[in-house]
């Protein structure tokens, strides 16, 4: 990721959109120091609320995990302890963040389960993960991440592994909790349908760079960057039945090579010579919408 600066207000959802392989998940993991031992942040820093998280020791970053920054992962099937009851997994986290005993955490745990729409929290608390469906498990994962509650929640493709019918349910739940707990949410997704559903602001990223950002309405109704346009056209509901789905030709470039021009130039249908030579200017289109593109500047 390259000099990406994001800001999210409490009670708001910012969606980061990009195709697979653009480094979204790796960035999310690196924030809380959760990358594998063999992966390293070579340079740069991650600043959260004035503190550089990359400079923190394991012990110090520990204070951020769950407490100030929560995370929801893509795969609910494997994200829960397979042999520990749901209630115990939740109280384990709650008692740490609230500095309570296990017994004192119990009512909070039940409250959390109710918050993620379980009608019978007592019953669910007794269950093991394998007794729950994928959607139910993801709700538990969300409850775990919200239990502090943190100031910032990063949800990395929270609905990708779920059935379409469950997706909407999870998204509505996330939106609801964002407002209830007044937390800032970064939603990482490749699905513009998800964006339309929940987010307040959108940031379109490509190969580690921001191409365009703005409010959800601006980006969806009035996209300026060719890439955003292509992404929107690739949505299945943009074509009539029987027609071939639009695709964006080519692949995300290797993040290791430094291209002098616009990062998207190699795949952009509108690219001209200057796009390959010089980095595109940053253009403010409104108070909120911003785009990096030569074509828009012309």
């Amino acid at each position: 990721m390259d000099r990406v600066s994001l800001s999210v207000d409490r009670g708001e959802i910012l969606a980061i959109v990009g195709e697979s392989g653009s480094g979204k998940s790796v960035t999310a993991l690196s924030i809380l120091g959760l990358l594998d031992k063999n992966a390293k942040i070579e340079q740069g820093n991650i600043v959260f609320d004035g503190t550089d998280l990359t400079k923190l020791s394991t012990k110090e970053i520990q204070k951020y995990r769950g407490k100030r920054i929560g995370m929801v992962f893509q795969e609910p099937m494997t994200a829960l302890h397979p042999t520990m009851r749901i209630g115990d997994q939740l109280t384990n986290v709650i008692k740490r963040h609230h500095k309570l005993t296990k017994k004192e955490s119990h009512p909070i745990m039940l409250e959390m389960l109710k918050d993620v729409h379980f009608e019978e929290p007592e019953l669910i608390a007794q269950k093991y993960p394998h007794e729950l469906s994928g959607g139910m498990r993801q709700r538990i994962v969300i409850a775990l991440a919200m239990s502090a509650p943190p100031e910032l929640l990063i949800a990395d493709e929270p609905t990708t592994a779920l059935d379409v019918t469950i997706q909407a349910e999870i998204l509505t739940l996330m939106k609801e909790l964002t407002q209830k707990y007044n937390i800032a949410v970064i939603l990482i997704t490749h699905d513009l349908g998800v964006v339309r559903e929940v987010s307040d602001n959108v940031c379109v990223m490509y190969a580690g760079k921001i191409l365009e950002k703005g409010t959800t309405k601006e980006i969806l109704d009035n996209p300026k960057h060719p890439y955003t346009n292509l992404l929107l056209r690739a949505l299945p509901d943009q074509v009539n039945p029987g027609e071939r789905l639009q695709e964006i030709e080519g692949e995300v470039p290797d993040l290791k090579q430094h291209l002098p021009g616009c990062i998207f130039s190699s795949r952009c249908p509108l690219s001209k010579d200057e796009c390959f030579i010089k980095a595109p200017p940053q253009l403010s289109l409104s108070e909120t919408q911003m785009v990096h593109c030569w074509e828009v500047s012309r």
Partner: protein
């Protein structure tokens, strides 16, 4: 839970029947004449014949087997040809010594093996891990007769710290046996002197015997910990702010123990059966030594009695392993 126990115990009967059949056939088809061993080379043909009749050796093998089974059903394991004692009372005299040795070896293997495996996995590829690995490779590759003798040379002959043979010092005797395990009996009767002495005598043979199991357990725990610690639920828990040590023990080890339990169970079985060499080195008056002597004497009733006890031990251990599995994994419970 209950259903499984009942099912397993009824299976035990079948297993034991198979074990008796196999050991009986094997001990009767091998060449050798126990009656001749008993009376000696110079006894007359009539004496030999008479002893044969007494032992039932003149009858066809299948009739002998039926006789043996009939005895078994009434709790009679036959009479040892060598000691002239009922096999059951011989085993009762020697089994507790073996059990005590195996139990202590087992406890040592668990107490050292599990933490060592965890440390090796958590500190993977560091110096601690390398030391742990060399240590456990040693365990599985160094034979007991060698490590036992080296232990005796160092701790008994050179340093003089620990006794090298028997269960108690000469002159000491346990006055009352309840379980046959000296450390437990002396504790129950409050005899501290015997307790200390018997514990003292257990140290070298138990450590020697435990080394192989310890190594196996360490390697198994290390391997399954490495696998479990890479699971996504560990990452989720870490992201949720669970601190590292708690994560390792309650999220990692708990699940890593599942495959370990099987290995551990089987290793306890082999401790019971495999104490033969250790008992011989440390002159430990246990079942292993008894059965080696019996084999040399073609004493098939006691060999069969020994095999039967070990078989029962294995089945019971397997049952315990299955039950533990159910405790550790709620999915198996259904």
């Amino acid at each position: 839970m209950k259903r499984i126990i009942v099912k397993r115990l009824s299976l035990l009967v079948l297993v034991l029947f198979g074990v008796t059949l196999i050991t009986f056939v094997m001990s009767h088809v091998i060449p050798g004449d126990p009656a001749r061993m008993m009376v000696g080379q110079r006894a007359s043909e009539e004496t030999l014949q008479k002893v044969r009749e007494d032992l039932g050796l003149d009858q066809p093998v299948w009739a002998q087997y039926l006789l043996y089974i009939r005895g078994l059903l009434s709790g009679d394991l036959g009479t040892s040809i060598r000691t002239q004692q009922p096999v059951i009372s011989d085993l009762a005299a020697f089994f507790p010594a073996t059990l005590e040795l195996a139990l202590y070896a087992f406890i040592i293997a668990l107490l050292i093996g599990i933490p060592l495996g965890v440390i090796s996995a958590v500190k993977q590829n560091t110096i601690l891990d390398h030391i742990g690995r060399v240590f456990s490779i040693g365990g599985v590759s160094i034979p007991v007769f060698w490590s036992g003798i080296v232990a005796i040379i160092i701790f008994y002959a050179q340093l003089g710290w620990l006794p090298a043979s028997g269960r108690l010092s000469i002159g000491l005797e346990i006055n009352r046996t309840i379980t046959g395990l000296y450390t437990i009996d002396s504790l129950l009767t409050g005899n501290w002197k015997i307790f200390k002495d018997s514990l003292w005598h257990l140290i070298l043979p138990a450590i020697t015997l435990s080394y192989v199991q310890l190594a196996t357990i360490t390697r198994q725990v290390r391997a399954s910990m490495l696998e479990v610690l890479n699971q996504e639920y560990i990452r989720t828990a870490r992201a949720n702010g669970i601190e590292e040590w708690y994560l390792i023990i309650f999220y990692g080890l708990r699940n890593a123990l599942k495959p370990t339990v099987t290995v551990v169970g089987l290793s306890f079985g082999s401790l019971l059966g495999g104490a033969v060499v250790t008992e011989t080195i440390f002159a430990w008056p246990g079942m292993g030594k008894y059965v080696v002597d019996s084999i040399a004497f073609l004493d098939f009733p006691s060999i069969m009695g020994f095999t039967l006890i070990i078989a029962i031990g294995y089945v019971i251990i397997n049952l315990i392993v299955d039950l533990l599995y159910m405790v550790l994994d709620p999915q198996v419970r259904e």
